[in-house]
Point group: C2
Chain length 218, copies 2
DNA sequence: ATGTTTCTGTGCCGCCTGACACATAAATAA
DNA sequence: TTATTTATGTGTCAGGCGGCACAGAAACAT
């Protein structure tokens, strides 16, 4: 569907990627229109014509972010064969992404607008919803582990999801604080050290339910 | 030591508390001078005369914050008799503080300026230093536990501190996301479920010694 | 009383913000 | 060609920002 009028002189997706980079590095409020025009290589009227507003541009950037960076999270949770491995790989891959020097440290959805205030509440609420979705994905994966038998049947899936999503969010702060990949991996290892006590089906930790299932070994 | 000139017409400490409340609720950048003048009940020249600048006012507010809200953290780490109880109580009390409806949700040092950018880098770096101090306090407490014998001698104190400070920071995000106290307590319980694997002396892991320990339960 | 010091309120500064009007340029459609 | 549509760059808008000059007010010392 070639346009009728004068064709756009810039690549819309490419410019969106540039905008994402700025938002990721500086956050939403601290990113000014001139930051965006400088990074995207176009003037502000072109931004408004192509994306609508700073806020809509940001939300498009978030969508791009979840579709690219968030892919690893969803894939790890979907494809690993046990809940334990799923959560482990999910945390490890996010840690690796947060520490990747090719991109800003930490997660856009955690850092770009943590506090909803007048000027950005729509954006901040949007990001909070993204975080809630990740939390729910973890809960779903634990529930699936219960069905599959690799998680104790009476495990508290919402509580486990709450815990691991808190760790995930904490990793973003930690990464921005300059902690490099080995440190993030230690945090992940610490979080996974809780797994047996929280979710392992073996009776060796707390409950005297008797039967020994498979030992999760990773 | 009564002043020589015209006495100040407002209570400096009281106004600082009001400023802290605004910074805590809105963050540093999103708090404007007019937000401050409205909350503190004074005009901006009085703020500049009494505190120097918005940035210096914020740093004074942070100092007040760490002296008051941070007191519980230091006290828990100092006074509990084992490292495990120290970390447990520290997390629990912070969770309770984050969920306290009388104050803004979460921790000022985590939420007020998570990203250092041009306009606020001094402030953000200051907060990062506060976070690093808390992390180091945890590490020191684990080291003391090693000396006291309630933590395994070969435990990795820096890694343990990294993990628990990540959880602590994650609690702030979670609290701002609307998770209430029971949810935060579940996160804390999840984190403490890792303790034995990370730090318990080998004897108490192998043998179920029959609960002379305090059960971390909220 | 007079001078000195300090705080207060009014008013304003230059700067930057997000947003857009406008005329022009460049494509297609007739 | 001419008309229509769409994108572009220039320029600018009203408003808010942090910060402060200034003059007056209120305490002190002498």
């Amino acid at each position: 569907m070639a346009g009728r009028g004068r064709p756009r002189a810039f690549d819309r997706d490419e410019a969106l990627r540039k905008a994402l980079g700025v938002f990721w590095e500086r956050g939403y409020q601290a990113t000014s229109m001139s930051d965006l025009t400088a990074a995207m290589g176009i003037n502000s009227p072109s931004i408004y014509a192509a994306y609508g507003s700073k806020e809509k541009l940001f939300k498009e950037a978030v969508t791009l972010y979840t579709a690219t960076e968030g892919r690893y999270t969803r894939r790890a949770l979907d494809e690993q064969s046990t809940a334990r491995e799923a959560v482990t790989v999910m945390l490890q891959e996010n840690a690796a992404a947060y520490a990747d020097p090719a991109t800003p440290a930490g997660c856009l959805t955690v850092l770009a607008a943590p506090i909803p205030v007048r000027e950005n509440s729509s954006v901040a609420v949007h990001l909070a919803r993204m975080r809630a979705e990740v939390r729910d994905l973890i809960r779903q994966r634990v529930d699936r582990g219960i069905k599959d038998g690799d998680v104790r049947p009476d495990a508290d899936a919402p509580a486990i999801a709450l815990f691991y999503s808190a760790v995930l969010n904490g990793l973003s702060i930690q990464s921005r604080d300059g902690v490099a990949l080995p440190g993030l991996q230690q945090t992940v290892a610490g979080a996974m050290a809780a797994w047996d006590a929280l979710a392992a089906p073996s009776a060796s930790v707390a409950e005297p339910t008797g039967g020994t299932f498979g030992e999760p070994e990773g």
